[in-house]
Symmetry: C2
Subunit: 361 residues, 2 copies
DNA sequence: TTGAAAGCGCTAACAG
DNA sequence: CTGTTAGCGCTTTCAA
């Protein structure tokens, strides 16, 4: 109502294709006109600049005009002018995977804490989509980047870094994790040590014929977890049977299919280490269907400690990555760079992990 | 390297607080200078405007300069100029809830299809956070809005609608769902009918003493699912025992706690309808702990068909909302409005649902 | 076939 | 205490 009147001549704009007319957003100029001041003043009361000097009367007049017009500052204009968007991007393979869902939630909460919005990208672990996600940072849409990628290396990140866009990644999954001098801040999850701990737990339970449902080939998690598996066996003097190392998709279906294959092998393994909980749960289901008792006939260990791990039957022994905390941690590192609080070389924070023994082993 | 040189005088800018110097992003002006043309021409080759007229030679020179400088158009400038951001916002209570995780994934995929990026907001079902999410749309950061809110009504959406920002919501959860003339497009999930179907299934199994773990008070899902529950009982001539209607949080903990309460009631219910799968899973765990067999002693039905529902033991009978499809559907509606392909009155699409009978009932 | 210039809405240096 | 002015990087009319 008052908004309509105050917009003055030409205050409305034709809706596209003849729908209801749409109001033009009021601008600072509109507010200034309504309050009888210059646009500058409006900007100043908006931003609280010139704290001492402005007269109380003017400020109130402006505030009132803003209220009447329903003025809301145009972020796109602020973004251009201030050269920042107060938005960060989070890149993950798949938000539906509870591990990344929790991770994103941590990112989200921490980002809000610092006043940042969050743009999310699912890459499904495909390089082209991962690159596309970097593109949004290159085009100035976001101020920084967190997340994890499977197929990017330092040269992919370089253009961003050169332009001063800070990047903080979930490490231990990055291809360039082995570089001497990391280029981006990372929270590193020591996948190999964690995997090793899990497999050693299996060995401690008396197993020697231990299979691994290793995940998708050519991905960092796969690589690191398999490495941990091999080291655990080697450390205890157990020979690796390559036939016990099985590829599979990182989800229930993958675990289910691969487990069926494993059940046909002779002799059967007495324990299996699944590269993530989704795989482990799929394996659990395969066993149940085939009448194989867990853990009596076969022990199954998982990885990630997603919420469902505690809920399946038998409850899954797994390794916790504290994923929500990782997301928060990452944003904290990023925020320090965005604020300029920290400007030093790349940092690596080693994330902890816990072996969580439940019923499946 | 070439980028450095080509930026020419003043091409670098001091990093904040003395870190490595950071390159200024090349602009169209930089490209124009390098190619010996005007900025206008650069813009034209970038956007393919003036398709016929430009000389091949010029175009190539410009393209080459772009490549050398590593030019990427500044989205914030485009946003301001074009008055659109190619970004939409998705508002959900909690992305960690698999129902919304899947929903978001659907939104994400469909949005990318149409060239839109996605800004996500978790509200935890709190009105203030829901309003904050609307704020980003008001400030011009996004071109449209999808998602679901618990505590907003038509008056909250009005300012956005007035400004021509299209909104498409997951209905059946909205407070103004009962309005004669809905103001926003909705994909409506008929919670009440679906809940009714579930409860009737329980009755068909011979149960008459049926409890409901109803979820959080004063939320639309709670309201609608409880209504379906009441109607099912009424329809079969079963009196409602108000003591069998229990509040709980929409998660496993809530289901667990409420179920323990229910197990203490005398006489015990022989079946319980949980307002979502997370609640149902919590209830399952409570039963297992107390040695109550499901479904023999108590049958449990859920709602949502999250992936874990098929994986718990016993596998959960539930009702599927086809949630990923809902997200896609919503974005499709939104995209039509953004493109101007559709400009008519608000549409409501009734979403289907399926009763999925597994082992828990 | 190309270029000059206006302006999207805002911030901030500077002048009065 | 308030206003003038110059852009941020881009698109798009209009003129040459």
């Amino acid at each position: 109502m008052s908004e309509d009147a105050a917009n003055g001549a030409g205050g409305t704009v034709a809706g596209r294709n003849g729908s209801d007319p749409v109001l033009r957003r009021p601008t600072q100029a509109d507010v200034a006109r309504a309050a009888g001041v210059s646009q500058t003043v409006v900007s100043h009361v908006l931003n609280g600049t010139q704290p001492k000097s402005m007269s109380q009367a003017t400020r109130e007049r402006v505030l009132e005009a803003m209220g009447e017009l329903g003025y809301v500052p145009d972020q796109t204009a602020q973004n251009l002018r201030l050269r920042r968007t107060m938005t960060i991007a989070a890149v993950v393979p798949d938000i539906v995977n509870p591990f990344y869902g929790l991770f994103i939630r941590g990112v989200q909460d921490e980002a809000r804490q610092h006043g940042y919005d969050l743009l999310t990208y699912n890459t499904d672990g495909h390089r082209d989509l991962e690159l596309k996600a970097l593109g949004v940072a290159l085009s100035g849409r976001v101020d920084g980047l967190v997340g994890t990628t499977f197929h990017l290396d330092e040269t992919d990140f370089a253009p961003l870094l050169r332009r001063g866009v800070p990047i903080c990644m979930l490490g231990g999954q990055m291809s360039f994790d082995d570089l001497d001098e990391p280029l981006v801040d990372t929270v590193s999850v020591p996948d190999d040590s964690a995997a090793r701990m899990m497999v050693e737990h299996l060995i401690d339970r008396g197993h020697t014929r231990i299979a691994i449902l290793a995940g998708e080939p050519d991905t960092p998690p796969r690589y690191n977890r398999e490495r941990g598996y091999r080291r655990a066996l080697a450390g205890r003097g157990i020979a690796v049977d390559e036939d016990l190392i099985r590829d599979c998709d990182f989800n229930e279906r993958g675990g289910y299919d691969a487990m069926l294959g494993l059940l046909r092998s002779d002799p059967r393994p007495t324990a299996v280490f699944a590269a993530n909980d989704l795989i482990a749960i799929g394996a659990l289901i395969a066993c149940r269907e085939r009448g194989v008792r867990v853990p009596d006939d076969i022990a199954i260990g998982g990885f990630d400690d997603i919420p469902a791990a505690a809920l399946v039957y038998p409850a899954l022994t797994t390794v916790s990555q504290r994923n929500q905390a990782i997301g928060q941690q990452l944003v904290r590192l990023l925020a320090e760079r965005l604020r300029g609080t920290y400007t030093g070389p790349a940092r690596t924070i080693e994330n902890g992990f816990d072996l969580i023994v439940r019923e499946s082993t």
